[in-house]
Symmetry: C2
Subunit: 478 residues, 2 copies
């Protein structure tokens, strides 16, 4: 199979979204399957997306005083067992190390599914006075969860993430931290990845194992399914008590500390693919794109073309992330398709006539619109266009979300709306777990969150008809 065929082979997005996703992941060389079931290899182009997410988020974290650290990847079973809800949530899906250095271990060790237990153990050693607080720790690392069904980036047995774990003097300070980090996640997803978020609190049923409150940023994919894109948890003293994180407060009294944790993961790469792509393949927002501009010479065998296009690429690369594609074994047409499939936001074409006229052609990946620009204006025009593309891609997602957000006043309407439209379905809710379970049972859709922006749709719970407590959003998910 030649390369030319390879690029064409992306499944139609309307016909089979799941297969389209897999095709894009593999053909844009974002990730590949490995010999270890449920584990993927993240290829350089996919990893570059993760590096750009890391860089953006890490800077924001550091600005609010977060410091990075690193804890062991292995957690003894006895530590995992210390917090009851937590172990119930995670024990079924961990991987166990039972042999090390040729010998059977006395106690088996799990590969971290998340690090609350080991972090809390260390924090209890480091905290003795209110002067030692807050501790705002974070680690960028790999974690394992032995999932049954896996998909690259969205759900794999190993994934990369950051997990922040903080310790505070007061409940208020810890709660404020939880929400501050949620805001940073919203910033990452909206401003870097160009995907609007729905912010809210998870229900009791959907919250993190061991948390008092879980807050979430939810996103909506092209097919109308939701993706939980970042979560931030307030623990109160739930871990501080079993892990004995005590400190002397300002009044000289011993007290248990208040904690939070929060995380985003390589799942965000899945969000970018599924929120923006189309039948040509990947479509990347300029701010996160590993390559922002590709320069393709036209008729590159003609005298002067390679020199002039290379010169232009060099100039642009001082300000943007630029790829110069001078491959001599592919036609310009092939290259156009290839870079569109890889989602590069802007293409610059320049051939003999353009050179004569002192011009180049700019083509947007998102709208396919074309324009001719004088070389003396190209830098500023590229900058404008990249900003415009970023903004427009966000707005396209926002419009789609509006179109796919509906209201429902009965269980039947919730089901109908989801079946017709997927998307977010807003409904009033009495707050009872039974009603939430009912929706899941009938529609397969869990609650996404109780949005911060509450609306009063009616007085009655859409499921049981009793007095409504709040508005909740349902949606099928990845």
């Amino acid at each position: 199979m030649g390369k030319e065929d390879f690029v064409k082979e992306i499944t139609n997005i309307e016909e089979d979204f799941a297969q389209w996703y897999t095709d894009v992941v593999r053909k844009a060389e974002l990730a590949d399957y490995t010999d270890v079931k449920g584990f993927v290899a993240i290829r350089p182009y996919g990893y570059a997306l993760w590096e750009n997410i890391q860089k953006y988020a890490d800077e924001k974290f550091k600005k609010v005083g977060v410091t990075n650290l690193y804890m062991p990847v292995l957690i003894p079973e006895s530590l995992l067992n210390k917090e009851k809800d937590h172990v119930e949530g995670f024990a079924p899906e961990v991987a166990w190390v039972t042999y090390g250095g040729g010998e059977e271990l006395e106690e088996r060790l799990c590969i971290r599914p998340t690090s609350e237990t080991i972090m809390s153990t260390m924090y209890s050693k480091w905290v003795s006075s209110w002067r030692d607080l807050p501790i705002l720790g974070n680690q960028w690392c790999n974690v394992l969860r032995w999932e049954k069904e896996t998909r690259p980036f969205l759900r794999s047995r190993e994934f990369l993430w950051q997990e922040g774990h903080t310790v505070h003097e007061t409940a208020d300070e810890a709660k404020a931290m939880t929400l501050q980090m949620l805001d940073i996640y919203a910033d990452v997803v909206e401003n870097l990845l160009a995907i609007p978020v729905l912010k809210g609190e998870k229900t009791e049923k959907e919250k993190f194992a061991g948390a008092e409150n879980t807050y979430t940023v939810e996103t909506l994919m092209i097919d109308g399914r939701a993706l939980q894109s970042g979560t931030s948890h307030y623990f109160g003293q739930n871990f501080a008590k079993p892990f004995d994180i005590k400190f002397q407060n300002r009044e000289g009294k011993e007290e248990y500390a208040y904690q939070t944790s929060w995380g985003i993961s390589t799942r965000l790469i899945g969000a970018v693919i599924m929120a923006h792509g189309d039948n040509r393949g990947l479509k990347l927002p300029p701010k996160v794109a590993p390559i922002q501009v590709v320069v393709v010479p036209i008729a590159q065998h003609k005298e002067g073309v390679l020199d002039k296009t290379k010169e232009l690429a060099n100039t642009l690369s001082k300000k943007f992330r630029v790829k110069f594609d001078d491959r001599d074994n592919y036609s310009p047409g092939f290259k156009f398709n290839d870079w569109e499939m890889r989602g590069v936001p802007l293409r610059v074409e320049m051939g003999p006539r353009d050179i004569e006229n002192g011009e180049a052609v700019l083509v947007r990946r998102d709208t396919q619109s074309k324009e001719t620009v004088k070389l003396e204006n190209i830098e500023s025009r590229v900058e404008e266009l990249l900003e415009e593309i970023q903004r427009d891609m966000y707005n396209v997602c926002l419009e789609r979300r509006k179109a796919k957000t509906t209201e429902a006043y009965t269980l039947e309407e919730i089901a109908k709306n989801l079946d017709e439209n997927q998307g977010y379905v807003k409904a009033m809710w009495c707050g009872d777990r039974a009603c939430e379970d009912k929706v899941k049972e009938v529609t397969g859709a869990p609650s996404r969150c109780i949005p911060f922006n509450q609306e009063h749709l009616s007085d009655k719970c859409a499921i049981c008809g009793k007095k409504a407590e709040k508005m909740v959003v349902f949606g099928r998910q990845y």
Copy 2:
């Protein structure tokens, strides 16, 4: 135990270097022991050193075309077994995962001790033509080796590192890559960490399991023991054959590819501690120091002092990594000791009289020398001093290395020199493994390397007296 006592408690460096090291690691809050034997937690101050090393090295890697990627942390036993020397080298010290998701696995999976096997498996899928080459992949990740004796940073069961794995069309290109990466390692260690390196090739006995050639940068610690600080391996086709990495070459013929791998790790943090520290604690080269300048107000309760010193700290922080220490529960004297213990290269003191005179006092961590500087000149003076400290720290190491490098012409001399002086002992060698084994047996010192800079000390092997092939360097190691 109060904080004031805590700082004083570093063991004397001449009395017990090993205990001094442990004290510095723990008291400067670089790392701490955990509940999992042989595993440490890297604390924020220690991790910040690693981040600075990562940033410096990663930029250099990217400049030569290296791209980051990520491979699974778990490797099936059958993959590990594919290259004979490699499995013999690593199998005894791996950790095995035998259960996942509540079930016993059909095949056990080891946590990567290094990733040649999984990388080669994936590369074989990605390479079919010379046009796909070179592949210059690298990952920053955690690895596990079940060591018996462990010490924070120097030898722990889990450590962080980068492992580069490249694939090339020709042996020459792969060899050139191997040496290019060694040069980058020398750059990191010499220019960032201010430690001179000895560059050379490992002997057959000391080379990496599966490599044709292993090249190394070796460093010498204060106590005269050596530390292998970075290695770069040329594999020839040793992995390409069992892992079937074949490509169609420019002549249209199928050929096995040529590979390299290379790595540096958090062990470099150990190198920084042990190459530069003293009885006051850690001593950090400015370029890698998380805090380059600490500003300590004197008589901070007096009017205007906190304002003026804070203003100065803010000004300096535009150009340098600055800490403003306005803690009100410690004396300036305590703070001086505290930041010296933590190795901050430069201290700025400013009190009421200094403010009146428009001056501040600068104190170097490395030499303890003091000077008074006018505020209008302080930025440029700080810049000069940081450069000077970086250079001087390198030169101190270089002088010590000279003093601790000796020549030996007999086995007895090798042993005598090592016993008296530790350090590097240069000796002529016939090239026989038996002679190398003999030195190890008698002195406990392995060969460090066959230096690139060869000297002709005599015609005879220092051990057996036969014809000498080359000069080799011996030294006891961490």
